[in-house]
Symmetry: C2
Subunit: 371 residues, 2 copies
């Protein structure tokens, strides 16, 4: 699709709806989180599923990230083509065609992948035997998410032995121990409790590996909501925040951890009022511009709140008696997405702005990279 | 992104996740709805916001649709470029750049647009004065949706007079009277009541126009959930169903209207099991492959139901004690989206299949056409 802005345009001239990145906020978040993780002595592997943008990935690596995570082989292909030399697919991959693509990719960059079943390991080894290449494997441990990952040391050891049996094309890097559900527990205490349990499960798996003679150089996981907690456990060696460079309304609904650096809202959608009536305005951005899995978007217009959304419309009403009804037909405004990752995936371009002007228009390179 | 299938592939060879269209079901739905509307003597203007696909639009026109609706100027541009000669933007458009694009488009095809405020009419006339072209205007009446549209005959007459004052570049086609919320009221009685009220409001607006000496040749609206009701009112001259060619779980949750032809589920997402454990499997398609605004997707795997979704995962569990746990790691299956329109918008390709094989791969041409 046509880019909604040109470099140098004032923000008011950006076509609506458009996905916008406040560069000052983005850079402040990048500096703050990378500095905090570096001070903890851990590696930072930035999760690119949040932004899907090669330009952002390059800035993360330039700011010290050891590499990226992504969730899909197709995403990894985009980032390797964009010059990123170290990509972990922090997810399970099965299916011969996908695994052959991953094997080919491993001939251009350092590739890691997660496993939680022996069949995945065997299929991966088969693909490498056919295509060449070598891949580093992380055994995913279910540390509380209840989604993917093995439970218990016996399953970890079975997978480690199977990986070892396929050396040198497979090599065990360590453990994936991500607790997704903990990211949005609202109080620091709830998050601390969840991550303490996750770290205990990860430590048990790591110790079992070492006792059985396996190396376990890496224990990786953590997101924007909890990474200082994982960093403080002494178990994790690497953290995987992704949303930190963008942020969203759901993350801001968390009570902040006093130990974590404060982050700024960098991502918004620039919208326009296309219809007005007393006590209501309608914006030109709905379910095809915002993902609502984590709640309605939040307009940055004092005294207004979103009350409903449909395919192409967001309806705003005054949030209280005292609200000033200053929004009028044709006005533009910024709206914060409820959940950044699937919202970014709806847009082809990210309009990077600073001091009221468009500084760059970046493609969302891996948008739609589903396979 | 790379197409997930090649023509002639068996469905099992289609890469996952992939958006799939069952051609037998699609064609049966197309025939059934077009025949029912033709028998009522109304025009059918198919809503392309649901499928965003030029190939489907061509088939709708070949099956008798007078033209298309869409919601965005950028969508209209895609469909006009694809050869559709009659496109209604069934939405409000404001913003000089967008209106100039619409004016240019009106030099290639018959273009209609909705208005609910005098400022939109003036801005449209300004754009046409600058760019040339002429556009047909529909005054949108709020017939119960509480979103866009005017309320009351005075507002209708004010807009009609303003349109008339800008003849010949603007011409009043009639009324847009779409009741979006009525589409998913679950019982036929609730839908009948909502559409009776909508038709009464539309008739009052039409009669006021005629009494004031304006033509009102078209009263248009209706969706897949209610079009037989609008067709039976004697007020509407045109209906705008969109989802009927695809269908989704939310439409199937409606109690069917005994007067409406039965429709089949044509749209699914082909998914793969990437992780398994006792009592649970995880599929490789989450919020970036399914829109969940109208509920979780529904797996076509007897005895399984979706229990949670995250960015790239859908977790299924057995739905009851008696469920047979036949899904295993690597298995592929079809999953019905909760809501078709925003789900289609997540995918670059639609894999059209029949008798177990891929018959065509169609681009979702207007995916991401937000402006």
């Amino acid at each position: 699709m046509l880019a909604p802005a040109r470099i140098g345009d004032p923000i008011a001239a950006v076509d609506t709806p458009a996905l916008m990145l406040d560069l000052d906020a983005f850079e402040a978040n990048l500096r703050a989180v990378h500095a905090a993780v570096a001070a903890s002595g851990l590696a930072l592997r930035a999760h690119a599923k949040a932004h899907k943008c090669v330009e952002i990935a390059r800035r993360q690596v330039a700011a010290g990230a050891v590499g990226l995570c992504c969730q899909k082989v197709a995403e990894a292909e985009v980032f390797v083509a964009g010059g990123i030399r170290d990509v972990l697919v922090s997810n399970q991959v099965i299916g011969a065609a996908k695994l052959r693509r991953l094997a080919r990719l491993s001939q251009q960059a350092l590739i890691g992948v997660c496993v939680d079943h022996p069949q995945q390991v065997r299929a991966l080894a088969d693909a490498l035997a056919q295509e060449g290449g070598c891949i580093e494997v992380l055994i995913e441990v279910d540390v509380g998410g209840g989604r993917c990952g093995v439970i218990g040391e016996a399953a970890v050891l079975e997978l480690a032995a199977l990986v070892a049996a396929h050396a040198p094309v497979l090599r065990l890097r360590g453990l994936q121990a991500y607790h997704g559900r903990a990211q949005h527990r609202r109080t620091p205490e709830e998050r601390r409790e969840a991550i303490a349990a996750a770290a205990a499960a990860a430590a048990a798996a790591r110790d079992a590996l070492r006792a059985a003679g396996h190396d376990c150089p890496v224990v990786t996981g953590a997101g924007t909501g909890t990474y200082p907690l994982e960093a403080a456990t002494g178990v994790y060696t690497e953290v995987q925040p992704g949303s930190y460079v963008l942020m969203d309304a759901d993350y801001f609904a968390n009570q902040p951890d006093p130990q974590a650096p404060a982050l700024r809202q960098a991502l918004t959608v620039h919208c326009q009022v296309i219809s007005e009536r007393p006590g209501q305005v309608v914006l030109d951005a709905g379910l095809k511009a915002f993902s609502v899995d984590s709640g309605l978007p939040v307009p940055l217009a004092e005294g207004w709140r979103a009350v409903s959304i449909s395919d192409e419309h967001l309806v705003l009403r005054p949030s209280g008696e005292g609200a000033r009804a200053t929004l009028r037909l044709g006005d533009t405004l910024s709206v914060v997405p409820g959940h950044c990752d699937p919202t970014v995936n709806l847009h082809d371009h990210l309009v990077a702005h600073r001091a009221g002007r468009v500084e760059a228009v970046w493609p969302v390179d891996a948008r739609g990279a589903l396979t």
